[in-house]
Symmetry: C2
Subunit: 217 residues, 2 copies
């Protein structure tokens, strides 16, 4: 038993070390020797847990995905109104990208993984499915206009968030991501909100951004 | 003179070879030996023109940027209405991404270049500036609502396009990019179009997509 726990701790340390090394140098330019140094484990221990660099990258993507999806799950389970949940989750993912090395490494690897032999489309497909659920709930709440193409909206919100974080990363190392998300939602809401709910919802993005800043520990 | 022309041809062949090698294996995983093999030049010739792998990547990004920006320039010079030009340029960039190896390699490198010592933000900043010009022209044309935040709209269109092409690349190797762009514009237009122009412009994305397919050689 203790041995099994030790093995799990080593595996977690390797994933953290690899995330740090990949974030610093980029995936392709990082050697497994650099990963074992960053993780503080021997190369033997590294190979015991992961048989290739790609296996390590996939483990980081999985860890990131689990963490990000659980934030979405929480909003769904807590009966937050659909449109508010859809807006909120983008600020929460932005926070994870800024504060959590596993998340930022995982998201970057997902984008760089086009050349992987393991398909990484599950991350996007799961997010598109979660966004569909938020949009559908938003329609049921009366906040989202019922004529909206739910699948198209879910796909575009996922893609738009991806682009906002990529551009924010290149231009400001994600320093401006909250402000850029508020701009994104300000431009997107007119195509989503039911006309009779417009007056109540038009400043939802600013409200969510302000509440999140106020709630910071 | 012929020697200078030969040198330019060698340089162009190296850029093409490097683009192909980077697209196939990813930037970080490609060695300079693989680049010289793909380009059909000696390692000596490669080092004569580029003193590092990063210098090669920056040359590809520059070549892609020149090609993409000239498409935007053409729309601006031909007095195409601003909103139509803004919509059109996204489909034209999508075409370049599908058909032109230098463009797809350059765009991918721009995203992966966060760890470069050379800043690559110029690509995004130039596109944001071009989009600003399109949006401002759209306001002058009466197509875009004058209360829109021009800078925010330009930034978001640039980011949204980036995300749409990244997600389309991961999910379908860009096979669905035109359809995803039409969905993006369908969701974005209500936040951009002046109410009195809505009836004329609401199907602009489908019209542009159809015209481009019809015009294909």
């Amino acid at each position: 038993m203790p041995q099994q726990i030790r093995a799990q701790e080593t595996r977690a340390a390797i994933i953290r070390g690899a995330a740090a090394a990949f974030e610093q140098r980029g995936y392709g330019s990082t050697s497994l020797a650099q990963v074992s140094a960053a993780a503080g484990v021997t190369k033997g221990a590294l190979y015991f847990h992961f048989d290739s660099k790609e296996a390590l990258a996939v483990a980081i993507i999985d860890a990131q995905h689990t963490e990000s999806v659980s934030a979405g799950r929480e909003l769904l389970d807590n009966n937050v109104p659909g449109l508010r949940a859809l807006v909120s989750i983008t600020y929460e993912l932005a926070r994870q990208l800024r504060d959590d090395l596993i998340v930022s490494a995982g998201v970057r690897l997902t984008i760089e993984a086009v050349n992987f032999s393991t398909p990484v489309s599950a991350s996007y497909l799961d997010w598109i499915a979660a966004c569909e659920e938020f949009v559908r709930r938003g329609i049921a709440d009366g906040d989202v206009v019922p004529t909206v193409d739910v699948r198209a909206a879910a796909r575009f919100v996922t893609a738009a968030f991806t682009g906002v974080q990529v551009v924010s990363d290149v231009l400001t190392r994600r320093g401006d991501i909250d402000q850029r998300l508020t701009e994104m939602w300000t431009l997107l809401l007119p195509g989503l909100v039911a006309p009779e709910r417009w007056d109540d919802l038009k400043d939802l993005p600013e409200r969510v951004q302000r509440e999140r800043v106020a709630a910071r520990p």
